[in-house]
């Protein structure tokens, strides 16, 4: 689904999965913890800036993430009406 249907106030982002990010922040294990990413919630404009500069995590981010841990930017959509309108073929905006 295009990001263009969502605004700054509709969606947030974490790297990686929000649960992983949250608990990595709590534990702060030096082997895997990265304060720039873990325990942080990003806005749409913040994540756009990061991805414009660095691409997606799988496109060469230098991370300490283990191979069996989610290696993606997770989006949390907080407005179901926009999703529903989009999938009904209507303009959500």
């Amino acid at each position: 689904m295009p990001l263009s249907i969502l605004g700054e106030s509709d969606v947030s982002f974490t790297y990686p999965d929000s649960m992983v990010s949250y608990f990595l922040e709590l534990r702060q294990d030096p082997e895997v913890y990265q304060p720039g990413y873990h325990g942080r919630v990003f806005t749409l404009s913040q994540i756009r800036k990061i991805v414009d500069e660095k691409g997606l995590p799988e496109e060469g981010w230098v991370t300490k993430t283990a191979a069996d841990v989610a290696h993606y930017v997770e989006a949390q959509v907080w407005n179901c009406r926009l999703l529903e309108e989009y999938w009904r073929g209507r303009d959500p905006r």
Partner: protein, 311 residues
């Protein structure tokens, strides 16, 4: 001798040439029948072939002709599909291969999102006309330069700064959008993907239903040894961690200016995740084609099917 300009024009030269190339290794019905007769009747194959040709001249195609033609049509169709699948591809560094008919899931480079050069601006109206937005929806926002425009000095410089720029039109879910990808450098991602369990309904949340129901669903979803579904091994523990995480997410989102309309978010992935697709069993993972957001109606839906899930 007729000059090239006098030759009759072909109806669709590119398509005809592509079809000719695809069929280059394909034998005709006559050739196939002759080979078959010779192989089937090694001692009097010539006589059999002569008899068959005579029947054709007399306008009496035998049942053999009809069967062979049907077989050859099926083989031709399969060969075209195999060649198209394996050879009609474009490769972008470092290891991104786009096949004919695939969506090119990439966004526009930042340097091409705004019109800065007046000569680029002249291309914009034609770009709008070429977009095929579905009824009731505006064409997707994005860059304003097309192939012809890149030849202008400013645009060329911009594209060189960020690497070679290619364009593809993909008939995606929104009825056809245009995307750009950098042949070198990072692609701009302007879409989300919602992964969910095959056979279930997307856009729902375990957090939005009573704990007993959620635990029952998670027990059904648990797959031992699966990186994706192993998280449901201890449903109560998982749910507690998830609620704790969502409270933090919501609090931080509001602090950053977000206005959540839901108590619990719907989870997606920014761009495509090779990790998810590699780690998940293809039989248990899907992405939505047409559905609705139903986070609030989970309980009703799951009462009919306890195996449904959401990300």
């Amino acid at each position: 001798m007729r000059q090239p300009r006098d030759w009759p024009a072909r109806a669709d030269p590119p398509a005809a040439e592509i079809a000719e190339a695809l069929d280059a290794a394909f034998v005709s019905g006559t050739q196939f029948t002759l080979y078959l007769l010779r192989a089937s009747f090694p001692f009097y194959g010539l006589f059999a072939a002569a008899g068959w040709l005579a029947r054709r001249l007399l306008g009496r195609p035998a049942a053999l002709d009809c069967a062979i033609l049907a077989l050859l049509r099926a083989i031709q169709r399969e060969m075209r599909q195999v060649f198209t699948q394996t050879m009609m591809t474009i490769r972008f560094p470092p290891d991104w291969v786009v096949k004919l008919g695939d969506d090119l899931r990439a966004g526009f480079p930042a340097s091409l999102r705004q019109i800065a050069d007046p000569s680029c601006g002249r291309c914009w109206p034609s770009l709008i006309r070429r977009r095929t937005a579905p009824a009731g929806r505006e064409p997707s926002t994005g860059p304003t330069c097309l192939t012809g425009c890149i030849s202008s000095p400013t645009c060329s410089a911009a594209s060189k700064r960020r690497g070679t720029v290619r364009r593809a039109v993909h008939p995606g879910a929104d009825g056809g959008t245009e995307s750009w990808a950098h042949a070198a450098g990072a692609a701009v991602i302007d879409y989300l993907i919602h992964y969910y369990r095959t056979g279930s309904q997307p856009f729902r949340s375990l957090s939005a239903i009573p704990e007993a129901n959620a635990i029952e669903i998670m027990q059904a979803l648990y797959v031992p040894g699966s990186v994706i579904w192993e998280r449901f091994k201890d449903p109560a523990d998982y749910l507690q961690g998830r609620r704790q995480t969502e409270a933090w997410l919501r609090r931080e989102f509001i602090r950053l200016g977000g206005r959540p309309q839901e108590q619990h978010p719907i989870y997606m992935v920014l761009g495509r995740s090779k990790w998810v697709e590699r780690m998940a069993d293809p039989a248990t993972l899907s992405t939505p084609r047409l559905s609705r957001c139903r986070s609030q109606s989970w309980a009703k839906a799951t009462s009919a099917s306890p195996t449904r899930t959401a990300w």
